[in-house]
């Protein structure tokens, strides 16, 4: 491999890999030959002692600073640095800045702890910023206020239908009689197109709450009509039974049951 590398390159690599202390004499000689006279110096060396350690560098000024001139630095070579010193180690004089009873592990733990604290407070803040912005996509208070409709149960006598509007759609509420409940329960599931028991469709058997929208093409069925004693859609002739289940006609599904609840204390049905 080595033979394939151009000799000049090989030479240069070898040259730079060599320790500087063993650099060719020609090179050091040229540095050494810099005549002192080229730098007209007002020489003032600064030697500082910190905790007994002597600074090995000197800073030389070419001129004193006056009101109109800047201090100019001329960096002199460090005379006393040993060529064998590993420069990746901090020089000894920096010991002056070291803490007296310093523990590497505690220091590292402290730094990780601080950054971790910064992160988790930041994470909590970021989460709140995001959620606070997402809240703007939620339904506004006036929409939510209209999203529920209350009906007084006492105002609907047994065996009567009530139609009311909820979110722009009609809602059928029927207060069923005992015979009607028995009739709804007597139907076997195998006869049904969309099999659902009556218990699945009601929370209390006396109260049937459904969306009054035909599952065929969205007409409003007529109550107490049709071959099954329930609802009949005048548009295309779908027949629903007393539980609102499709029995005959083009509609594929039973009438939809919305979310609703009973407010027993006030005797009300709350739709929505």
């Amino acid at each position: 491999m080595a033979s394939k590398i151009a000799p000049s390159l090989l030479t240069s690599r070898t040259y730079w890999a060599r320790p500087i202390s063993a650099a060719p004499t020609a090179l050091t000689a040229s540095a050494a030959k810099v005549p002192k006279a080229t730098v007209p110096l007002v020489h003032r060396s600064v030697n500082a002692h910190i905790n007994g350690a002597q600074l090995s560098s000197r800073t030389n000024f070419t001129a004193n600073n006056t009101a109109f001139s800047q201090k100019r630095f001329y960096a002199a070579p460090v005379y006393k640095a040993s060529p064998d010193t590993d420069v990746t180690q901090p020089p000894r004089e920096q010991d002056a800045y070291k803490l007296q009873h310093h523990d590497d592990i505690s220091s590292r733990n402290f730094a990780y702890f601080m950054i971790g604290t910064y992160s988790f407070i930041g994470a909590a803040a970021a989460k709140n910023i995001v959620t606070d912005y997402l809240v703007h996509f939620a339904a506004s208070a006036d929409v939510l206020a209209l999203a529920k409709v209350e009906v007084d149960m006492a105002s609907i006598p047994e065996g009567k239908n009530v139609i009311l509007k909820w979110r722009g759609k009609p809602v059928f509420i029927r207060h069923r009689t005992a015979e009607e409940i028995a009739e709804a329960n007597s139907v076997s599931l195998s006869e049904l197109r969309d099999p659902e028991t009556d218990a699945d469709r009601t929370k209390k058997p006396e109260w049937l709450v459904m969306l009054g929208v035909c599952t065929h093409l969205g007409c409003v069925p007529i109550g107490e009509a049709g071959e099954y004693g329930g609802w009949f859609c005048p548009c295309h002739g779908s027949h629903y039974d007393i539980s609102g289940r499709i029995r005959k006609g083009p509609a594929p599904l039973n009438l939809e049951v919305p979310a609703y609840d009973f407010n027993e204390a006030d005797g009300k049905i709350v739709i929505g």
Partner: protein, 349 residues
């Protein structure tokens, strides 16, 4: 190529030294023009700023009050006026204008600042006061003023329970419909209904009030200069017109109202409402409560907003402190490094 400059990489063992230390260590610069170190420089600047502030205040005060200078400024303004007059005669427009005196009669008397508790950054509205204020609105103001953006549901959890709000709503009948046969019908109010409007439309309101339109009160505190202070002062500010001021028939003199003549008659007198929580019902208490209520109506999000803001400030302060620490941590290597010159093995000649 003669030499190699190497950077000490530093380790975590090094904490950032203070700025002063770092600078001294890196350049041996000695005292600067503002003192030996940063502390001295800050002290220097603080003293300089304080000194110039005192000096400037003294000098400007002296100039402003000195009677020897007064003729000078008068001569200046006279010459400007003369120039303006010349320009007016010639039909020219000058890039400066002559100031006109401010008239309290035209703009309304500036209301004093009252110590509203909810002006403090950490205070919510006094909800008992909102409740009393709603009572005043309902019994007095609502005879002429609508509040079309405040619904009964807005009162729930603010000043009334849900049951109370439903009861209040049901006192009025609202038009609804159409029903199954396409007719509109009247039904008792629900939580989703707004405060009942006293007049069907603006024309009816103007006709009933001598041409003046009682403004909707939903956002009135936000919509008037002086906000709460103005509303409160206006409600109690009715008095006899001063000498030389005549008020047209049907109007009333109120110095806080721009122009001084307001169509609204004084509405709040002592004991026009009866509070059920035992609060004294003199006119100023009524005015304070109804102003608080109207302020809430204008800023219904006020309490939540303040709480959120204070939380945000607390979190931001923590994050600011930590980011200052973090910056110092990251910069400590740079601030505390020392550049060392490592020569080849040769002797200085």
């Amino acid at each position: 190529m003669f030499s190699r400059a190497a950077y000490t990489t530093g380790t975590r063992a090094f904490r950032a030294p203070s700025f002063a230390q770092g600078r001294m260590a890196s350049t041996q610069a000695g005292p600067g023009p503002f003192g030996a170190d940063r502390k001295a420089a800050i002290a220097w600047f603080t003293k300089a700023a304080a000194g110039s502030a005192i000096l400037g205040y003294g000098v400007s005060n002296y100039i402003a009050t000195d009677e020897r200078i007064a003729p000078l400024s008068k001569a200046l303004s006279d010459s400007v006026n003369a120039l303006q007059k010349k320009a007016d005669d010639l039909g020219l427009k000058l890039p400066f204008t002559v100031a006109h005196a401010f008239s309290t009669a035209d703009h309304g008397l500036h209301p004093p600042h009252y110590p509203w508790d909810h002006y403090k950054p950490w205070k919510t509205y006094d909800h008992a006061s909102i409740r009393r204020g709603f009572q005043v609105y309902k019994e007095v103001c609502s005879a002429c003023h609508s509040m079309e953006y405040i619904h009964y549901r807005n009162l729930v959890g603010v000043s009334h329970t849900e049951a109370e709000a439903k009861e209040l709503a049901a006192e009025y009948e609202y038009k609804d419909g159409p029903n199954d046969v396409g007719e509109m019908f009247m039904r008792p109010g629900k939580l989703t209904d707004a405060m009942p409007a006293p007049y069907p439309n603006e024309e009816a309101a103007r006709a009933a009030n001598g041409g003046a339109y009682p403004p909707d009160l939903s956002c009135i505190v936000r919509a008037r200069h002086g906000e709460e202070d103005y509303i409160f002062s206006l409600l109690l500010g009715y008095c006899d017109p001063p000498a030389g001021v005549t008020v047209r028939e049907g109007l009333h003199y109120n110095p806080y109202f721009p122009g001084g003549a307001i169509a609204m008659a004084r509405a709040l007198y002592d004991e026009v409402c009866e509070y059920d929580d035992g609060t004294p019902n003199n006119a100023s208490q009524l005015a304070k409560d109804v102003t608080t209520f109207l302020s809430w109506a204008s800023y219904p999000e006020h309490d939540e907003r303040k709480k959120m803001g204070l939380k945000t400030l607390a979190i931001s302060t923590m994050l600011l402190g930590l980011s200052v620490w973090w910056k110092r941590f990251k910069w400590s290597y740079i601030k505390s490094r020392k550049i060392v010159y490592k020569p080849g093995k040769f002797d200085e000649v």
